[in-house]
């Protein structure tokens, strides 16, 4: 050992204990290189950036409470007689799954609270992902380089739906059993293999003795395992790409403006975990969720009215409810279109939004990176499509609760169903047109604001008696913010006949792309942002409003 090394280790010996531990870890894990890049990493501030955090924290809460619940839950469909402390169900036959869920709810101290936190957190997790996804969609945060992370997020949402479904099916109560039966009926509708799929999923005929145990391993191991991996990948990419930011003074495509991870975001984001957990715990304290004892154990020949899935499954319920009961019987086989078509549309509704980033990047042909977010108004076609998709989704949610709409608003169930049947096709079109108009209107307003300034509300009387409203010109910060967005030109096909008069074949895909491009960026589909010349011309002739 050389003297120099000796010296350095001796001086280290006097360092504070924390530093020595960090040195030890650095020698083995290389944490200093990691910390150099990340400890003072800058995060931009905007309220909508916390939506993703809500999802991450509720996912952690779900894992914590879920592990607790597995300590008491018995994933078995063996029939037992109930002898617990909930008197109304004394002596009833029920599966061990239902029995142990009652035990958690009534006999384990704090067990009901853990169940309710688990379920509420799941609802909030899914709602958070939905809203987060919409935020990313409408601000164009999915553009290059973030398309892969968009897909990670999308997969988390879809897997979250199925984790939720398998989770609330576990107690084997009357409500969730009805949902499982619905799923089985849907699987049976698959042509050729449907019956086999159903028998292989349920270990024979429905309900059989296996599905709780099988759903259990899917719910606590398979799906959350994949989701945990996806979530870590999602976060790594967020760190790697650095966060997006809205346009503003000092903010460019080349920088990220905000506050450092240590200490500000460590405290804010770390504190936010406790805020989310605290709010969910308080909700679980006062708002009852999934009272399985009120529904009773599952019996395939019993049902209650007003049966509803958890909200995130509601749109699939809508699909199945409004579809007419078409069946084709040919050559000794049945094609159950009335159930199979909804089963096919169900993933298509989700895939439609998942593939959108790739469609848009194909239409724009833009290969550059985007770190400055769009205001929704500045991408009217995208915003219109997004609202159209949401309209479709919400229409299906209404369809999924058609009975509740009928009873709560004193409407005819048939009328509600027919409304959904028609609005499924018409609603998104209306929503698209209206949204696009609103966006263009807002773009015009921004244009006016830049060119003519802010309306102050002060009315001035001119010497000759005319009344005018005083406009106040915007600061350079505001002017920059309102004109920072990039506007695309519609893609032209270009000359189809070359100089020798030979016609060039234009591929159909290029024609389509050109059509879409002018639908996105053509005249009337976006308002040209004001140019410097326009601004100067108006500013020089000041006083005319």
């Amino acid at each position: 050992m050389s003297t120099a090394e000796n010296e350095s280790s001796r001086s280290r010996g006097k360092a504070p204990a924390g530093e020595r531990i960090a040195d030890w870890a650095d020698g083995r894990l290389g944490i200093y290189s990691l910390a150099k890049a990340n400890m003072r990493k800058i995060f931009p501030d905007h309220w909508s950036f916390m939506l993703g955090e809500v999802c991450m924290y509720s996912f952690i809460i779900i894992i914590l409470t879920g592990v607790y619940l597995t300590l008491f839950f018995h994933p078995s469909m063996n029939e037992v007689q109930y002898h617990g402390s909930y008197v109304p169900l004394q002596g009833q036959l029920m599966s061990e799954a239902f029995n142990s869920t009652l035990h958690i709810s009534f006999d384990v101290r704090g067990g009901l609270l853990m169940r309710q936190i688990h379920h509420w957190a799941a609802l909030i997790f899914l709602a958070g992902m939905f809203v987060h996804m919409m935020r990313v969609f409408f601000t164009g945060a999915f553009r290059k380089p973030r398309e892969v992370n968009w897909l990670f997020g999308f997969l988390l949402f879809v897997l979250g739906m199925f984790t939720g479904f398998t989770g609330y099916s576990l107690p084997d109560d009357l409500l969730s059993g009805t949902g499982v039966r619905f799923m089985e009926g849907a699987i049976l509708s698959v042509p050729i293999v449907g019956t086999y799929l159903s028998f292989f999923l349920f270990g024979g005929e429905f309900p059989g003795h296996d599905f709780v145990a099988r759903f259990y391993s899917i719910h606590i191991l398979l799906l959350p395992g994949i989701m945990l991996g996806l979530m870590v990948g999602h976060l790594i990419l967020v760190f790697y790409h650095k966060h997006t930011q809205f346009a503003g003074p000092g903010k460019t495509e080349k920088n990220v403006v905000g506050m450092p991870l240590l200490p500000v975001y460590m405290a804010k984001a770390g504190g936010f975990f406790f805020l989310v957990f605290g709010v969910i715990a308080a909700i679980a304290a006062v708002a009852q969720i999934n009272p399985i004892w009120a529904m009773g154990p599952y019996r395939p020949d019993q049902v209650s009215t007003g049966a509803q899935p958890d909200w995130y499954m509601g749109f699939s319920e809508g699909l199945i409810r409004f579809m007419p009961g078409w069946e084709i019987n040919l050559w000794g086989h049945t094609l159950v279109l009335g159930v199979f078509i909804p089963l096919v549309i169900f993933p298509l509704v989700l895939v439609a939004i998942a593939v959108y980033p790739f469609i848009e990047s194909w239409v724009t042909g833009d290969k550059s990176e985007h770190h400055i977010l769009d205001r929704p108004r500045n991408a009217p076609t995208r915003t219109g499509l997004g609202v159209a998709w949401m309209t479709l989704y919400l229409t299906l949610l209404v369809g999924g609760g058609n009975d509740l709409w009928a009873t709560h608003f004193h409407l005819s169930i048939n009328a509600v169903t027919w409304f959904v049947r028609i609005f499924f096709f018409v609603g998104p079109v209306i929503a698209f047109i209206v949204t696009k108009r609103i966006c263009l209107g807002l773009q015009r307003r921004d244009r006016d604001k830049v060119l003519h300034g802010r309306e102050t509300g002060i009315i001035k009387r001119l010497p000759h008696g005319e009344f005018v409203e005083v406009h106040e010109s915007l600061s350079q910060e505001q002017l920059h913010t309102l004109t920072a967005h990039h506007q695309y030109e519609p893609a032209e096909i270009g000359a189809t006949v070359d100089e020798n008069g030979v016609e060039r074949k234009v591929p159909a895909s290029e024609k389509l792309r050109s059509k879409l491009s002018s639908a996105y960026y053509g005249e009337d589909n976006q308002i040209p942002k004001p140019t410097v010349e326009e601004y100067k011309e108006i500013a020089s002739g000041h006083g005319h409003h």
């Binding site: 086999y196 308080a282 920072a484």
Partner: protein, 352 residues
Amino acid sequence: MSSQDIPEENLPAEQDHAHGAVGIADEENPFSDPGLPPHEHRIQDIDERAARRSERMVALLFTVSMLATVAFIVAYLVIPNDKSIFVFPIGHLSAMNFTLGLTLGVALFCIGAGAVHWARTLMSDAEVADERHAIEAPADVRAKVHADFRLGAKESALGRRKLIRNTMFGALALVPLSGVMLLGGLGPAPGTKLRHTMWAKGKRLVNMNTNQPLRPEDVAVGSLTFAKPDGLEETDEEFQTEIAKAALMIVRLQPDNIKDKRELDWSHEGIVAFSKICTHVGCPISLYEQQTHHVLCPCHQSTFDLSDGARVIFGPAGHALPQLHIGVDSEGYLQALGDFEEPVGPAFWERG
């Protein structure tokens, strides 16, 4: 507190100027980026008393959290599991759940609120700009990786020795089949199980509620009765699976109200028996409108007309409810005269 109270020595000489990437104000282009705006000081930055107030607030929040955790522990140990309390305006709640949830919620929330308040009032709020770096690798790195890959691929000789390549792909393509085969253990083949139920000629109809065999006189006009086959008990190993197919719905109609000829033939004194399992996706049908003889599935609102062969008159179901041919045995009890002639419940590919 007004700004007059702030001691002179605490006031900064002037507000900080713009920091980070500062754009140059451009006379030519009024839309150009003016750069980060100057940092504005908070009251806590210039007045130590305000900063101390914030500090006390953060400490108070953390202290409340500690107290709430103590309250949680006490509640966990003291409150009986079955005690219920009335909380206005929510109503009756489990005392244990309410107290534990609220104390836990407060304990967690106050930690979060304290941390966020600390960050917002006492930690630096100066915005900092960080450079972004292109995600794409520079051209030389790209060229190096491509060259390395080509070298590696060449050294493996995968492209040249086609026999190795093809057999390897063959082996890798086949090996997952073992896994697929293992999934075969998940379930038996369906066979014709979905075509048959427990009903057979001579099986009596047993009232689901009273567990007694039904006589025609037990079924009143306008009533809806649920029945199961004789010999199926709740304690049976396969009760759930059997009742999922055999559940029966019995109503008595005026024989001249029955519009469907086969329905009339298969009825007994106006008593008709239909499968209770909806032909849509298998919910048990349970809502009966006695004036119109319609039954409605509460899950997806398929509506069937029991006076007309239980055909679908509204909703997503694709075909009528199967009818069970019934009669009376020598002792006067209702009995089945055979199994359902078609599969009950949701339609499937092999149904035909």
